[in-house]
Symmetry: C2
Subunit: 201 residues, 2 copies
DNA sequence: TGTTTTATTGAACACCGTTCAATACATTTG
DNA sequence: CAAATGTATTGAACGGTGTTCAATAAAACA
């Protein structure tokens, strides 16, 4: 069965080649500006062949969508080494912000492109995991006596909304020009203002 | 000059007819799924004729973009009757949330569709006005002794980020399924959690 | 060596935004 | 009124899009 194995390997490699090409174009130009023909010609392939490996354009997109969420979750999980839950909580927000800064294109793909439809897909399951992770950290903070009188779920949602709001404004370039400072600085200061607010609770 | 006047009137009316048709389709299907041909055929017009009234598809979009911001700003300004600045501040967030709920399509068009490019266009000037309005209300709160030790600009940015974050999650349908409650309820509770946080400051 | 399976191609279809020569209509001029 | 001018409208055409599919090439198997 060596032949079958090799064939399978080749198929996986072709799959990867297409995905690599797609990633480059998707992240650079966004969903609508990426065409199957572009993806194909970038690897000297015919448009039709793409459909041997992927059902349609959306399936390619969802692959990258998942990819982004996995990358994101791994950066969240990297904070598990931080002992103090509250410090971990604060760092989680910064991971969000840093991710949006360093992987703006992924962020757009993951959170701001519409094409992905409702809460379908594997990517969203990973996102769900990220949310539960955040909720858990907040719970640990609450177990230590922090955030007294605040509901864990709504606190999670609020935290998420805040950082996502900051990152959304940043990724859509709605932040530059608001004030005189750079967008990166604004993100951090905006977040720190939030932390200052929650600090006393 | 009665003839010229009538002609001008007819031109304005045609402009409006196209915009009405475009609004219906844009708000229903979003930017990419709206085609010039659809807009035209919905009013028994030829595709080419649209270009007699609008430079291109983007110009039509921007018209609606502006429209949305004007509608939004008017709802913000309606709160000027509220005497107490802090009450006005709290109500401003609710206006945001209510707008996203009642005009989800506009919200998507205004804040979440990419096609509009950087901070160009008249719509963004109106948005800038809205932000300055919020900043002013926060300043009034601060003049009353609230939000002590917090920078007005960052507080404005944070407030904006929070409500925009809530609304973005809602409009992209990322909120349903998080917890057991309805999205509308979650928005309000998330916002109230924020208010509870800021209340003591 | 056939034969069958697998992979690849490129033409074709129906759509898209946009342009533009041709046309129809309305108004003004002779 | 008729001719000329300007104004509005059309639909074909251009180069693009996602997707399908019959034909074909390549590889694996018998």
């Amino acid at each position: 069965m060596s032949v079958a194995k090799r064939k399978e390997q080749e198929k996986i490699e072709m799959h990867k080649r297409i995905l690599d090409s797609a990633r480059k174009i998707f992240l650079e130009k966004g969903y609508e500006q990426t065409s199957i023909r572009n993806i194909a010609s970038a690897i000297s392939y015919s448009p039709g062949s793409i459909y041997f490996y992927f059902k349609d354009k959306n399936e390619i997109f969802h692959e990258l969508h998942k990819e982004g969420f996995r990358l994101f979750l791994s950066q969240m999980k990297a904070l598990d080494v931080i002992e103090d839950p509250y410090e971990r909580y604060k760092a989680l927000g910064l991971v969000f912000i840093r991710f949006a800064q360093n992987h703006t294109d992924y962020y757009n793909l993951m959170f701001l492109v519409s094409e992905t439809g409702k809460a379908e897909g594997e990517g969203f399951q990973i996102a769900q995991g990220a949310i539960e992770h955040l909720s858990g950290v907040i719970q640990q903070c609450q177990d230590q006596g922090r955030f007294r009188g605040l509901d864990n779920k709504y606190l999670t949602l609020m935290t998420l909304s805040l950082v996502h709001g900051i990152c959304s404004l940043y990724c859509k370039d709605r932040m530059s020009g608001f004030f005189e400072k750079s967008s990166e600085e604004l993100m951090i200061h905006g977040y720190e203002t939030f932390i200052a607010l929650i600090e006393s609770k």
